[in-house]
Symmetry: C2
Subunit: 226 residues, 2 copies
């Protein structure tokens, strides 16, 4: 579904250079749930953002399907992301002036499409926000804001969902419900999910876990159990 | 060190009212490490913010030492927080235009005080930011930003540190180092810490764990072990 070939991302120059990605070649298979773990600062968010077309590599290639992202201009990248990808950001990135419902529906609104009403209700009840849809982000707890971000990525049923620590602010029960839902979406609804997490329990829902350190893949573990 | 008596915080009115705190009476003992756990939306951040003077209760009393916060005006609250409290926010709340070092030193700068140079170096090396002090928040990973927020609260050695999920974005190794440091600060440096967490492993560093649900304390567990 997505892959990186010799991906390099460097910030700064000379002695101050930060090698966020130091040569990453990795495949995120279609209809699979892939987890990425690694120390803080090891390049997980950078890898996700470069493969999802939110950032440019310094060198190397990033693919969504057969499309090489380096060959797209900004407008083409925006359209590809809008039509094919869902993203759960580490910092949520909710629009402060829109309600929870408006934030959740924003990708479809921008694409000019109508939501599947039943699917919307299913997801809103899974993330337990049914009675908070009219609130602004500032009126929601940290975990409630994260759940809005999760719902926003799930509702359009994109080809690939990139989730950057989607359960970090949630108590274990809520986290389990969301991870189980994502597992079912892969098993029953053809979803492809790539998830960054620090939580080994969350990683246990994946089909494969990749381990990143200092901008490189150092290990992988198929069929993880906690 | 701090306490709440019949604390009530209600948002909205009538059927739409949200009872964030529904009558909380709790003590956070001096020179102890108290953890607060509970489901997403149960009132943890609200309790911390009201006891730390960052928000007003709808009814009931909040104390820092013998000072009842409802009797203070905005200026007095600001000075009390500045001089006596440290806060690690769930969303970090870093100043985007200041470097990591400037963000960490901001409370002391605002108080017109000089940092203890050795203590600063100790904390910066504990949170492993020694070579990133010159970067802006936008140039740091999610976990690195959280570590800036942690360091900022620890450097002034305030009377009480209120930490809202201080290790949520960190890999387990980094989280362990920060929690061990906080434990030592309580055991060896007279620190008082109140920490909200979703992570039972983090809570195991505390002397007592309080459980919140639907705006009320429902249980407490002294000397927790994982
Ligand atoms: N301005 C507001 N208007 C309406 N409801 C609010 C407002 N601020 C907070 N709330 C609600 O108060 C309740 C408690 O919020 P709080 O942030 O204390 O929860 P929490 O326990 O910290 O949750 P989390 O674990 O998700 O961070 C939540 O239901 C939240 O939506
Ligand atoms: N604009 C930038 N300038 C300099 N360095 C940067 C910039 N953006 C990111 N970095 C650095 O790149 C490295 C990888 O960052 P990344 O956000 O991918 O880490 P991460 O694995 O997601 O960490 P975390 O678990 O803390 O979220 C980090 O050391 C980070 O500080
Ligand atoms: Mg990250
Ligand atoms: Mg909270």
């Amino acid at each position: 579904a997505a892959r990186a070939v010799d991906a390099v991302k460097t910030y700064g120059e000379g002695d101050a250079a930060v090698h966020a990605l130091a040569g990453v070649t990795v495949e995120f298979p279609t209809n699979r749930f892939t987890a990425i773990m690694g120390p803080s600062g090891s390049g997980k968010s950078t890898l996700m953002q470069c493969v999802a077309g939110l950032d440019r590599l310094s060198s190397g290639l990033a693919y969504i399907g057969d499309t090489e992202l380096g060959g797209l201009n900004k407008t083409q990248l925006t359209l590809l992301r809008r039509d094919r990808l869902g993203f759960i950001f580490q910092q949520y990135n909710l629009i402060p002036t829109l309600t929870a419902q408006e934030n959740i529906l924003l990708p479809l609104t921008l694409a000019g499409e109508d939501p599947d009403r039943q699917w919307f209700d299913t997801i809103v009840s899974t993330v337990r926000l049914t009675d908070r849809l009219g609130n602004l982000p500032s009126q929601l707890s940290g975990g409630q804001q994260q759940r809005v971000a999760v719902a926003r990525a799930l509702v359009p049923r994109p080809d690939i969902i990139f989730a950057d620590e989607p359960t970090g602010a949630l108590d274990s029960q809520t986290g389990i419900e969301i991870l189980s839902f994502m597992r079912r979406a892969v098993d029953e609804a053809g979803q492809t999910i790539v998830m960054v997490t620090h939580d080994p329990h969350a990683a246990s829902y994946a089909d494969n876990v990749l381990f990143l350190a200092d901008g490189q893949i150092i290990d992988s573990m198929p069929d993880p159990t906690t």
